[in-house]
Subunit: 562 residues, 2 copies
């Protein structure tokens, strides 16, 4: 049996468009002799549809689209389509009104519907908000072959692999008892660094444990902050990779189940990069391209400060949208160093993007004059620094609004964590491209980018980082060294460590407490940040839900270092 894997890039909510993508894959697959086509979780509406699911007319439209799709797919091809089904018993028995489902379409009709059993409700996932868990193991028979169906999280609860259970049941164990021939897993699994290694190791463990081939299908593409990396793959009964689809791109891949050998046969295996930098780069390029396209932007604008963050974002934007579609704007102030201008222009030349220069000195004077009465007798300080950043933010938005460009913001995760950024200033933008990329990773990405030739001008890489909002200012006047800061942030944000634990790992206790306070106090800024492309397992954004008006952390000594 030839099985096709449709690694699709849906647009959230675009039911006719997504159905057309499924149909196109189905026609291709049928013409290549496939008997079964697999599509990702919720492939009809795209993942995550979020509160669109609360809209009854949306659910109804999805149903109508699914029925039409069932009629349209080629004869002799069975297709698994991700959709929702109403929980008709909810009114009487309680529970959420929908199931996260896969519909088996065959011979013009909906043959069977399967319900996702494990509903992730953590990090960026809100599935308990919408869905009721399915209670039955899911499987169907096609040409005498018994195929187990699991949806994403259903395969993420192997208690032996994890050393603990996250849910009471393990759907793959249920399927093994039922004697399925192989298992498909239809997923929309968001990208984070090295996640593909985790997926393959985890499913290899389950394949070997239960002696079942597994075909893992993933969505691809960027949907707001979430990036889906594709990388669909298949494992034989020995847990060996027999197929891997493209990373960070749509694909239509094929695997063959040999009924005699009772196993999947070797097929085409796309290699995965060993470089984390390359992987992150591809993720970010995809994220910018998809956010722009799905929001109907063809061009982007950003501020070029001559620093490394905007340099990286400009390079990503040029790769995502084409260099001719990226405009970099230099906005020097009297505090700008000469090299900030020459470095930004050199970057523009290297990338081949357009640049414009708009000096802001006059506008700074204008604000000084406007505020001279109110600010009389005060010292130059943060307020004045922010004014500069907000002048730039206003100019960038003016250009974006005037010409219909997408404004990309350029702040990195380290800055966003400690609030070393200006709300309504450099934080402005429709998309925060590197908001989940720590500063140390920004350097590593730029160095990787320069492997073969100088794309990021070397001077940008070697000079000390500075916001240049006052004379002689350096980031390290206000912040710990970035190597130190990023390690503290990793322990605090990703590993949920306490100040005591972080200090015990060798960090200065005063510095640790200062960083923790900065992180807490910057919550109000992060709340108003644009969506940031998520590349780690804990990003600021939809999966980060912190109170603003709160009094935890060092403030009352709750977080005392030893």
């Amino acid at each position: 049996m030839k099985i096709a894997i449709a690694q699709l890039n849906p647009i959230i909510g675009d039911l006719p468009g997504n159905a057309a993508k499924i149909l196109d894959a189905a026609r291709n697959a049928a013409s290549y002799g496939a008997r079964l086509l697999l599509t990702p979780e919720l492939s009809l509406c795209g993942y995550p549809p979020r509160d669109l699911l609360l809209n009854p007319s949306f659910v109804e439209a999805m149903n109508i689209t699914l029925q039409q799709l069932a009629r349209d797919i080629p004869a002799n091809l069975a297709v698994l389509v991700g959709t929702v089904e109403a929980n008709t018993k909810a009114q009487f028995n309680g529970g959420k009104s929908l199931f996260n489902s896969m519909a088996l379409l065959e011979a013009g009709s909906i043959k069977q519907i399967f319900h996702k059993r494990l509903l992730p409700t953590y990090d960026v996932f809100d599935e308990r908000r919408y869905f009721e868990p399915g209670l039955q193991p899911n499987h169907f028979t096609l040409d005498g072959i018994n195929i187990g169906v699991t949806i994403c999280e259903d395969l993420w609860n192997d208690e032996e692999y994890w050393g603990k259970r996250s849910y009471a049941i393990n759907p793959i164990a249920d399927l093994a008892i039922l004697g399925v021939d192989f298992i498909v897993n239809l997923s929309a699994s968001p990208y984070s660094v090295s996640k593909q290694k985790l997926r393959e190791a985890m499913l290899r463990y389950s394949a070997i444990r239960y002696k079942h081939p597994i075909i893992y299908v993933n969505q691809v593409g960027g949907n707001d902050d979430l990036l889906f990396d594709g990388n669909s793959f298949a494992l034989n009964r020995e847990g060996e990779i027999v197929c891997r689809a493209l990373g960070f791109d749509t694909d239509l891949a094929y695997v063959e189940f040999d009924n005699g050998r009772h196993d999947l046969l070797p097929s085409s295996i796309t290699p995965v990069s060993e470089s984390e930098d390359e992987e992150i780069w591809r993720a970010l390029v995809l994220g910018v391209r998809d956010y722009a396209q799905k929001c109907r932007f063809s061009k982007a604008v950003l501020g070029l400060s001559g620093g490394i963050d905007s340099a990286l974002v400009a390079a990503i934007a040029a790769a995502a949208l084409g260099k001719e579609n990226v405009l970099g704007i230099l906005m020097p102030s009297p505090y700008s160093s000469d090299h900030s201008i020459s470095d930004a222009l050199a970057l523009g030349d290297n990338l081949g993007i357009k640049t414009q220069t708009i000096p802001i000195g006059n506008l700074m004077e204008g604000f000084d004059n406007a505020l001279v009465g109110l600010f009389a007798g005060t010292e130059f300080g943060l307020a004045e620094e922010n004014i500069q950043s907000r002048i730039r933010g206003n100019l960038l938005m003016a250009v974006a609004n005037k010409f219909g460009y997408l404004l990309l913001s350029t702040g990195n995760k380290s800055e966003m964590a400690v609030g070393y950024c200006t709300l309504y200033g450099d934080m402005n933008g429709g998309l925060a491209v590197i908001a989940d990329v720590p500063k140390t990773r920004v350097y590593s990405l730029c160095n990787w980018l320069n492997t073969n030739s100088e794309i990021i001008p070397n001077n940008i890489l070697v000079k000390a980082p500075s916001a240049e909002l006052k004379p002689g200012q350096l980031d390290q006047d206000s912040l710990p060294e970035y190597e130190v800061l990023d390690d503290i942030l990793q322990k605090l944000i990703h590993e949920h460590q306490s100040a005591a634990q972080i200090a015990a790992a060798g960090h200065d206790a005063v510095t640790v407490n200062r960083v923790i306070q900065m992180v807490a106090r910057a919550e109000f800024k992060r709340r108003q940040a644009p969506p940031g492309l998520k590349i780690t397992d804990r990003a600021f954004g939809t999966g980060w839900r912190m109170p603003i008006a709160s009094n935890w952390l060092a403030v009352k000594g709750a977080y005392q270092a030893p």
Copy 2:
């Protein structure tokens, strides 16, 4: 048995501070002869603690605080304290690692711990993200009286009252079978217009149905976007109100359970206002006061345009923080009408707040000059209108940053819905005071405020609304009449109606589709808005989770009116 109701206003995460508030109430209650003190849901950490719960050191600190509190409370007083307990079996059985709990403290120790059974995961609630549901009915015996314990949502599933089930079980039915003498419900129930009527009607139904007195305890205070209105109350077996605590303020109320009559005795009943405007006004004043205090601001600044929105917000701020702590800034442009200045000054006089005037004409020229090259050959349009708004936003933030003021933004819900507002301009602020108040309600609140004397200058109430960003501009040039707009928005946002349904209710189909498109396209602005005080059952903010890059709604004709 005398029972005290501690209607507390916790600060999220402030464990020592919240414990001190509980202890203070306990000492007072003991001195009045109370045998049992009731506190709201999660009273130790405040509701909602959100992702602070993911921090093991936070959970550990809560535990330590709880144990100390048990030692500190007066002898002869039992206290129910809202806290979390670890789900120690999660590792082996699956499930979330915490229970949303009430601890019974008595005689120096933690006597019993109860687990919330129904975990709301909808709108602003994310309880399945953190908690495992309790499986047992909760009750305890004190002086021979059998007391049933329920936590908030536990009492929101009476299938007879609602005509449907939201959850499989109804905890009050379980308690009735166990023969409890009365039931306490420890809540943190967010405010929305008229919600108190709903609570009282619902619990009256259950009290009568099960013939049990119910004591309902609610948190009070503002926590970011969420407002808790207090209004704790008690019902006797006949479902009659025998006690009601203050609305929108802390309180310590008492009820007496008469063991002989097997019922609660009449006690003090605070009347509730029949005026929705008064109720909303008090909610918004509380929200501003608490957000400011809990974020350690004593003063607020806002832009005064001479329009009705900023007038209302100024009045709320003056009531919340004291007129001497509110600064209104007028920022007239060449497009500003004379009355916009005179009306704003008259408002400032009426309220007794300070005002400052900063004309922005020169700054507008400065931006025109800066952009003259890039914008050559283009027409004056939205970009230029936004520049003005962002100049004002920059000036307001400069004042806020310089003097440590909280900037209040003044946009209403109708504007936020359709995007009739400028991101990084008039949307700037730490708190969006009336972001959940539709424009028609803004008028009604101002008229209510003027009942006895003119607080909002009459000219502000009678003139046509205008953003004054170009000559002669009126809101109604771009938007439907606000009565029409607000009704469409109510049906769309609150009632989840389709375009066809809204049009069928008598609205022009073209207008309906245009509004729906505006709402969808403004999602990127709302994503970056400050927290807005929630006063309806569906507010933009934490309970509104919409994709930005999506293609549902009129775009592809999915939302066709008939």
